[in-house]
Amino acid sequence: MAYVELKAPPKPSNAVEEALADFSAIAKGLGVTLRHMFVKPVTMQYPEERPELPARHRGRHELERHENGLERCVGCELCALACPAKAIFVEGAENPPDAPVSIGERYAKTWIVNMIRCIFCGFCVEACPTEAVQLKRVFELADYTRESMIYTKEMLLAPAPKKEPEDSWLPGFLPEAAKQ
């Protein structure tokens, strides 16, 4: 371990030396503030300039899709169970066999998160067995009413892929809704 030797300034021996030390300290301080006047401000001019958030920033939830457009969420409610703030409500339902919503047997009929309660801990992400829930970089969540802070599945679903992926390991069927 290397230690930095911190030397205390020599003790002033008389009043004149003390006064000189005080004045030089004040002058030093004035120099620091004057120098900082010419430093570029670190302020981000927010609405015009936008922050470059890290890739793993925990912002608003997003419900992901598979490459073929089917929802990843299978309605298992593990995220709701893991949520320490009890912010998530999930209601699962059987997948209709002719037009499946997800690739499993079941899908989430309703998937609601209350953003007033959410503490952005990311436990729902960890609990999700299909990696359907992700916390994304959306951070502008402020609004005026409690009702508008409740985000439903339609608001959180990731956009459907534009075209069918060519080499997908998934069964190659797309629901009509996802194709559009």
Binding site: I26, L30, K40, P41
Partner: protein
């Protein structure tokens, strides 16, 4: 019937009224834009921008602030003395505004054979007037502290009175040095004297410089500005004497503080920096008469910047340290300086530079 009123006197009275109106409004506009300048300069010193959202470069911010303050609820505590509580901010603001009446900001000149003066009143005892009126300002702070019926306010008011009375002594002793050097207590005459001898009194080594330093430190304390803003020490006293003030009454204290800054700086310029100094001896009568005030205002701006600079640099003093500095350092230094000046002036009445 009114034969004894001459037309010239009527004109002079009207001119004085117009000038007073212009000066008071200029001071209040200067106050408004001082707040913006202070926030911006302090922002830059703290590596941020300061207000820049209202209007271009935030230039309309003072107007927005003024509207906000005027429409804020004006709360008077139920146990407060309502009359004193209302009068106190007026008592703080009015002395600050009327000091500027005697401050000459430019040399007199003739415009089309009519005399034009850059002051409202030129009285023989103008520095005495300045000290007298400046001391009245402390009543506003003390009465505000007392009338609020709040212990923090009272402590703030007490601190204000103790501090301002203590530092007035050092300030007056420093100013008396200049009065001895100039041989006059008339501010206009003091400036003229400096212009005649070609150097401002701050450069009269060593006495002038010492007096200037003492005056400056005492002046910062007189205006209750950082690092001597003990009366409103928010860490200890809430907001000191104006804890119980809001809305327009609060903004009057705010105005008084900034106008006092302008006053102290203006008097320092008049006494020590030669007022419109480089203009008069070098530019000729007529040009100096018009350019002089610009030199004065430039110096004023430098002083204002200095006040802001100090505020963003130095932490607040402890109260006993403040009193110690005032009584044990500044006042003795100013007194010794005064005596040395008196001796030098007595020995060499015509002057020996660099002393006189």
């Amino acid at each position: 019937m009114f034969d004894w009123i001459s037309w010239n006197v009527v004109l002079a009275v009207i001119a004085a009224f117009v000038k007073a109106f212009v000066v008071v409004n200029a001071l209040l506009v200067a106050f408004a834009y001082m707040t913006l300048t202070e926030r911006k300069v302090m922002g830059r010193m703290q590596v941020r921008y300061g207000p820049n959202r209202v209007g271009p470069f935030g230039l309309l911010q003072p107007i927005a602030d003024g509207i906000k303050l005027a429409f804020k609820e004006d709360v008077t505590p139920s146990q407060a003395n309502i009359w004193v509580h209302t009068i106190a901010p007026i008592m703080a603001l009015v002395p600050a505004l009327i000091i500027f009446a005697v401050i000459p900001i430019g040399p007199s000149l003739l415009i089309a054979d009519q005399p034009w003066t850059w002051y409202i009143a030129n009285i023989n005892v103008s520095y005495l007037y300045v000290t007298a009126v400046a001391s009245l300002g402390v009543y506003g702070l003390v009465l505000a502290g007392w009338a609020s019926n709040n212990k923090y306010s009272l402590l703030g008011g007490l601190r204000a009175s103790a501090q301002m009375i203590s530092y007035e002594l050092a300030q007056a002793a420093a100013a008396l040095t200049v009065v001895i050097l100039a041989g006059s207590i008339n501010l206009y005459e003091i400036v003229e004297q400096q212009n005649r001898s070609l150097i401002p009194y701050a450069l009269y080594l060593p006495v002038g410089l010492v007096a200037f330093a003492v005056y400056l430190i005492a002046g910062v304390a007189e205006t209750n500005r950082a690092p001597f803003d003990l009366p409103e020490a928010e860490g200890e006293l809430g907001a000191g004497f104006h804890t119980e003030y809001s809305g327009f009454k609060w903004s009057m204290f705010f105005m008084a503080e900034y106008v006092n800054m302008v006053n102290v700086s203006a008097i320092a310029i008049v006494l020590f920096l030669g007022g419109w100094w480089p203009a008069v001896p070098y530019l000729g009568e007529t040009v100096a008469g018009i350019v002089g005030p610009i030199f004065f205002l430039l110096k004023l701006a430098l002083f204002m910047f200095f006040f802001i600079w100090l505020r963003s640099t130095l932490p607040r003093l402890r109260f006993d340290r403040l009193m110690g500095l005032g009584w044990k350092v500044l006042f003795p230094v100013a007194l010794v300086n005064l005596m040395v000046t008196a001796v030098i002036v007595a020995l060499w009445p015509t002057g020996v530079w660099p002393f006189i």
